[in-house]
């Protein structure tokens, strides 16, 4: 059913349909509308779940660990400072191989304090062992939740997943969203079947420590599971397409790439703006295209190399900065294209809610054509010291 909905409410509705049994979350802007909506569903018995009103994000994800290990499907949502506070717990979840799904409403990190959007928060957790999926619009944001649970809980995978969508730009924006029925979701996402659980009838010890004889192998197993997840995400995405008409089998998605000379690479809502800019530039005869990265972890390097094989240059739009180095996505795209001879330029854009317009996209294309890149784009020179 097509509905005109706020992004947060569309996501909350999707989460409800995933039948989480335990929800544990702490309020933080701009995630609040999601967790308020879920609390309201629990209060009105439209969602049969235990809702734990924790005292911090640190406890939110910690409680998810306990509930997941005890055998429940669990959910949490956070952003920015909240995700940073979960840093230690995030690594722990992945290492314990608990299939927790968490929505990240992307927001900048302090200092300076900013409630506005960029992707520094989830990007900073890229090494934690979680899958990371980025949504371009609210339709994709809702759909990726069904997909995330399905892949995370696959006994060949057993890894947590972050579904990332841009704070305010998507979370607080009304868009038409095709919502699914409970029967439709049940047909796509099977009931939670824990691989192992805390149970007095069959006691297991979780979270033991590993000596140097074992630690590396355990980390390798996580990495291997992430590698396997590429195929499982593609399969789950294809199946979603078959059932509901929206195919998510591609980890990266090209737009006007076929004959493109300059290709943008972006994640999240920015892709929509870039596509509009591409249409305008194409009308002026510029051969530009876009590669959207939907799945950032596992990183689909070979898919990216294949998709960009025919372009002359690549302009990566990074809504993050690995301070003291470059944009995180840019660095990895360079790695994926290493030896190809294709020039890759990285642009740090949109930090802390700085708007990026179609004209900016065209300007970045012009910079790339001139061979100028690996820089912040759109700095207000007049306020710099």
């Amino acid at each position: 059913m097509m509905q005109f909905m706020e992004g947060s409410l569309a996501v909350a509705d999707a989460v409800r349909l995933c039948r989480p049994q335990v929800i544990s979350a702490y309020p933080i802007t701009p995630q609040t509308h999601i967790v308020e909506a879920l609390a309201d569903m629990v209060a009105n018995c439209t969602l049969d779940a235990e809702y734990i009103t924790v005292e911090s994000e640190f406890s939110a994800l910690s409680a998810c660990i306990g509930a997941s290990a005890a055998g429940s499907r669990v959910y949490s949502a956070t952003t920015s400072q909240g995700l940073a506070l979960m840093f230690e717990v995030c690594f722990n979840v992945a290492g314990m191989r608990l299939p927790i799904v968490m929505t990240i409403v992307n927001r900048a990190l302090s200092a300076p304090l900013s409630i506005w959007n960029d992707q520094q928060d989830s990007i900073s957790l890229r090494d934690s062992g979680w899958m990371q999926l980025y949504a371009e619009d609210n339709q994709e944001a809702t759909d990726l939740h069904y997909l995330a649970y399905r892949v995370a809980e696959d006994h060949e995978i057993l890894l947590p997943a972050m579904v990332c969508f841009d704070g305010f730009i998507l979370s607080h924006t009304y868009e038409p969203v095709e919502t699914l029925s409970q029967d439709q979701v049940d047909a796509y996402l099977p009931a939670f079947r824990p691989y192992q659980r805390l149970d007095a009838a069959d006691p297991i010890s979780f979270g033991m420590f590993a000596s140097p004889d074992y630690y590396m192998e355990f980390r390798y197993e996580i990495d291997r599971a992430l590698e396997r997840a590429k195929e499982r995400i593609a399969r789950a995405g294809k199946e979603f397409g078959k059932q509901f008409g929206r195919d998510y089998s591609a980890l990266v998605e090209g737009y006007q790439l076929e004959d493109a000379e300059t290709a943008f690479v972006a994640m999240g809502s920015l892709c929509g703006t870039v596509k509009d800019a591409i249409d305008e530039m194409r009308a002026q005869g510029k051969k530009v295209g876009l590669l959207k990265i939907r799945c950032y972890r596992p990183f689909p390097g070979p898919d990216i190399a294949k998709a960009l094989a025919g372009v002359k240059r690549v302009a990566v739009l990074d809504k993050n900065i690995s301070l003291g180095s470059k944009g995180a996505v840019g660095l990895e795209v360079k790695d994926a294209l290493y030896g190809s001879g294709i020039a890759v330029y990285d642009y740090i854009v949109g930090l802390g809610g700085r708007d990026l317009k179609k004209s900016d996209i065209a300007a970045i294309a012009a910079l790339a054509e001139k061979g100028q890149g690996d820089q912040f784009y759109g700095l207000r020179q007049e306020v710099l010291r």
Partner: protein, 301 residues
Amino acid sequence: MVDKSLELFDCGHRACGGCGPAIAARLILKGAGKDTIVVSSTGCMEVFSSPYPETAWKVPWIHSLFENAAAVASGVEASLKKQGRSEKVVIIGGDGATFDIGMLCISGAFERGHDFTYICYDNEAYMNTGIQRSGATPYAASTTTSPAGRCSTGNKRPKKDMPQILAAHGAPYVATASVSYPADFMQKVEKAVNTKGPCYIQVHAPCATGWGFEGNLTMKMGKLAVETGLCVLYEMVDGKVTRVKKVVRKPVEEYLSTQKRFRHLFKPARKDAEIAQIQAIADFNAEKYGIDIKLKKEPAK
């Protein structure tokens, strides 16, 4: 009644000889029974009981991080509730995990009123990392981060009153115990796990390595702490003290002089002021909880 003859904590763990916390682990599981899920914080007990794959736990057990055991247990409890399961949830944390780094998670979990029992095994310092002071370290104890020295008499602060803090959270049952009184301790654990809501037990668990005494003296050391009034054994129901172990008190010196961590109070020169201050702590405890057994005086002839 729980079957206290069951051994649910296995041999082969790597605790030091005479380890107080290892005794605590065994007694906790005897009191709680086999239908118990244990959530452990990082610490000595977690490390000596769980090097992969050699677990000593015969009940379901989970360790996540140092400071989040109460939050993990909140999730376990919520999940069990949702599934209609009846296992008891018992958290076991050291004093560092409980008094210091885990305080946020503990306060939140007690305030939310989850149905679990939190047991702090109190060996009065961070023993796993090499005997650093914690909020549970007693006044004047020498640790590696509160060492006695030319211008230091050891730890500067008295022990934090954790049981009172959790009683103030509205915990229906709060108790202190000692591994040196095993029957009393097991009974308190059994009572706590059968009380609905968040319960707290703080069990004094002497550490031979950290305190500096021979491992065969662990039980005696715990008893001396109680007999001197430095460790008071009591129960609180709904915030009111309902039962206190009474003793014929001994001077604190008898307890202090047998431990390396207090040696600087006696050598090279006796530090009367510090010893008197520790005696004052014991006297205060005795007065507050009414632990003194008044011996009948010989009638005057």
